[in-house]
């Protein structure tokens, strides 16, 4: 039951989804490498996961915006992971992003550039080894641009396309790429927002769904709550001339 040699790299180890995902892997006996920009906050999650599961959890400093240091970050890891889950992202502030270019750039880089480059580098290493699983947490916001969050949405759209292309390229090498669209999740990122309960997952649900799809069913794209698949099908099928007049 305990795959003693398997290692997870969790990029975004201070986020609520990251914490729950790492916890699910640790409960299944995986060793966890928790990577985050804020090492102290990640240490708090690492201690918690270790206390709950009695597994080995280490903390590694990672800032995906420092793209020239991504190679050395990977070189310094104690092992090349079997699975990488990237949950890094930042909702940002749409209104601010419309006028403050540095904020817009940060949102685009944090949600698209950084995660894509990190996973690119891991993909090369997985190819060289001949095995590996890559999980990217994207967003339903990337499936159609909306006035209320299109900078974030555009970055996530880019990330989704990137994951899709990577999956296409790595399929012959049997390296699995999973795209996760969580829908609404009750996390720090959404704290204070009014979210409809049936559309809103708990972080633990996301962690469980990721583990099941990445290590079990090997699905390619998942919506954590199935209803989001239907909602996005409808939203994507609305003609643009109608869509542009909707308040969404």
């Amino acid at each position: 039951m305990h795959p003693a040699h398997k290692t997870l790299l969790l990029a975004g180890g201070t986020s609520d989804i990251g914490r729950e995902t790492a916890l699910h892997y640790a409960q299944a006996g995986w060793r966890v490498l928790l990577a985050a920009r804020d090492v102290e906050a990640a240490r708090r999650n690492a201690d918690d996961i270790a206390a709950r599961t009695n597994t080995q959890v280490s903390v590694h400093r990672l800032d995906v915006l420092e793209t020239d240091r991504l190679q050395s970050f990977l070189d310094a890891l104690p092992a090349l992971p079997d699975t990488v889950v990237c949950v890094i992202g930042e909702l940002g502030d749409q209104t601010r992003a419309q006028s403050d270019f540095s904020h817009a750039t940060r949102v685009l880089r944090t949600n698209f550039e950084g995660p894509s480059l990190l996973l690119s580098l891991l993909a090369e290493r997985f190819l060289a080894r001949g095995s590996g699983t890559i999980v990217g947490v994207s967003s339903v916001a990337g499936l159609r641009g909306r006035g209320s969050n299109y900078v974030y949405g555009a970055a996530k759209a880019g990330f989704t396309a990137f994951l899709s292309g990577l999956r296409n390229r790595l399929a012959p090498a049997a390296i699995h790429v999973l795209t996760v669209n969580p829908g609404f999740v009750r996390t720090r990122m959404t704290a204070g927002m009014k979210l409809p309960p049936i559309l809103t997952a708990e972080p633990g649900e996301v962690g469980r769904a990721i583990f099941a799809a990445a290590e079990g069913s090997k699905r390619d794209v998942i919506y954590v709550r199935k209803i989001w698949w239907l909602i996005m099908l409808i939203i994507r099928s609305i003609p643009e001339r109608v869509f542009k007049r909707l308040k969404l």
Binding site: A41, R44, N45, D47, D48, A51, R52, N54, R188, A191, G192, M193
Partner: protein
């Protein structure tokens, strides 16, 4: 918690303050407050620094207004990490917002159990300390606070202090049972006890009246866990008729003998039932509740005598099986009345109270009798005596009824439990808590006075 809207009060980067109407588990009273949910322990320090009218809130299971800040309420629900856990000794350090239910799901399968648990597992560890909660083993093992080895407290002046028996001991005593009024508990260390199985060997004793029930509780004082359920609608000669449940943690051999196929540590069984909407006020009336009580009493009495094995979750937390059970009392909410009466006076005073409840006809599903020993916190509820717990729906007549009970409690030298209280008067409170002046002095000395306050502390004049 009620409807809330997002409205920044004092804009602080990264922190949202929501104006919300907050209540306790009894859903009475409701008060406006600004709700903040810090996501890291370090944030507590600067969030409380210099504020006034601020109080910490765990899972909101105190019944009244204890966890609603006059200005700001700090939710500890995101401070829910286990910091360290030694699987040899059972020593564990957890953040204050960790739910007991979560702790149990981690430690029970490993053969550990908290030294004390209250009647619901949906409380935070910080809340368990702040209320110095008692369990069915209080007569033997004391309150949860008695088992806290060390805790970290964030004070309004920005200090973060470690409190233990040999370090800031007075502050520790004031914090145990102190309703969050000394500062905000950040984390706590305590030792779990070993259990061989997740089952309890329960013996049921039938007591036809109150005197027999009190005698049976005293007599079963050797048992680790004892508690009595009272049919508080029974009258006349049956006044106070009860079922007494005594229990011990069951050993591995016992379980094997009783059911060789049983899982040694059965998991918690969550959410079998729930109350999705407020039931209309008339659902619970003398007829429906007394029918329930009659059936419950007969069922229990039928099982009397023979010890039987019961899973830990339904044994300790029977009401947790019904999600949102507080909604059965309807939209106006309910009051939980819990008093303790010193041993010598217990029988006459409690029978007077039961007599009046019965006459009043206020439906009460939950009526529990339990023996307590002295507590140690400055404002800890337990004292040597017997505690009675009643649930009463909010109605016109109920406040006068409870005021009359208060007079009986005060005259007997007893007191009311702050974690349940939504309405007692200052004089009732002051009469019941002789260490109040020391608490006030300490609050003045640490700077908590004038800064940390809940609607309850303001109502009761705990300056």
């Amino acid at each position: 918690m009620m409807e809330s809207t997002e409205m920044p009060m004092a804009p602080v980067p990264g922190i949202t303050i929501r104006r919300a109407e907050l209540a306790g588990w009894g859903r009475y009273p409701r008060h406006p407050s600004g709700l903040i949910t810090p996501t890291a322990p370090a944030d507590l320090t600067w969030l409380i620094a210099g504020r006034t009218g601020v109080i910490a809130r765990g899972n909101g299971r105190a019944y009244g207004d204890a966890a609603v800040g006059e200005q700001v309420t700090l939710s500890t629900r995101s401070l829910n990490r286990i910091c360290a856990f030694d699987r040899q000794s059972g020593r564990i350090t957890v953040e204050a917002g960790l739910l007991l239910s979560e702790l149990l799901s981690v430690v029970v399968p490993l053969g550990f159990f908290p030294p004390v648990v209250p009647g619901t597992k949906f409380v935070t560890i910080g809340g368990m300390i702040a209320s110095d909660v008692h369990g069915k083993n209080h007569h033997r093992d004391g309150g949860f606070g008695d088992h806290v080895e060390r805790l970290t407290l964030a004070l309004p002046n920005g200090d973060v202090l470690s409190c233990a028996r040999d370090e800031n001991a007075e502050l520790l005593d004031a914090t145990i049972g102190g309703m969050g009024l000394t500062g905000t508990i950040v984390n706590a260390t305590f030792v779990l006890k070993r259990i061989e199985t997740g089952f309890l060997r329960q013996t049921t004793i039938v007591a036809p009246d109150l005197a027999t029930a009190i005698a049976a509780l005293s007599r079963t004082g050797d048992a680790t866990y004892t508690v009595a359920w009272i049919d508080c609608l029974a009258r006349g000669a049956s006044l106070g008729r009860s079922l007494i449940f005594a229990a011990e943690h069951a050993g591995r051999l016992e379980l094997a003998a009783s059911d060789p196929a049983a899982e040694a540590f059965p998991p918690s069984r969550l959410g079998r039932l729930s109350v999705p909407v407020d039931l209309p006020g008339w659902t619970l009336n003398r007829f429906s509740v007394s029918a329930f009580n009659e059936a419950y009493f007969r069922l229990g009495a039928a099982k009397a005598g023979e010890p039987r094995l019961v899973e830990w979750d339904p044994y300790f937390f029977p009401l947790d099986g019904v999600g949102g059970w507080n909604r059965i009392y309807g939209r106006r909410g309910f009051l939980q009345y819990q008093c303790v009466i010193p041993t010598a006076q217990a029988e006459p005073v409690l029978s007077e109270i039961l007599e009046r409840v019965s006459r009043h006809g206020s439906a009460s599903f939950l009526a529990v009798l339990k023996q307590l020993r002295a507590g140690h916190g400055l404002l800890s509820f337990p004292m040597e005596g017997f505690t009675l717990t009643l649930d009463l729906p909010v109605s016109e007549g109920v406040f006068a009824l409870l005021d009359a009970f208060d007079a009986l409690v005060v005259a007997s030298g007893g007191r009311l439990y702050l974690a349940k209280d939504a309405r007692q008067s200052r004089s009732t409170f002051e009469a019941g808590y002789p260490n109040l002046p020391r608490m006030r002095d300490l609050r003045r000395a640490t700077g908590a006075g004038g800064h940390i306050s809940s609607y309850q502390s303001a109502r009761l004049g705990i300056q």
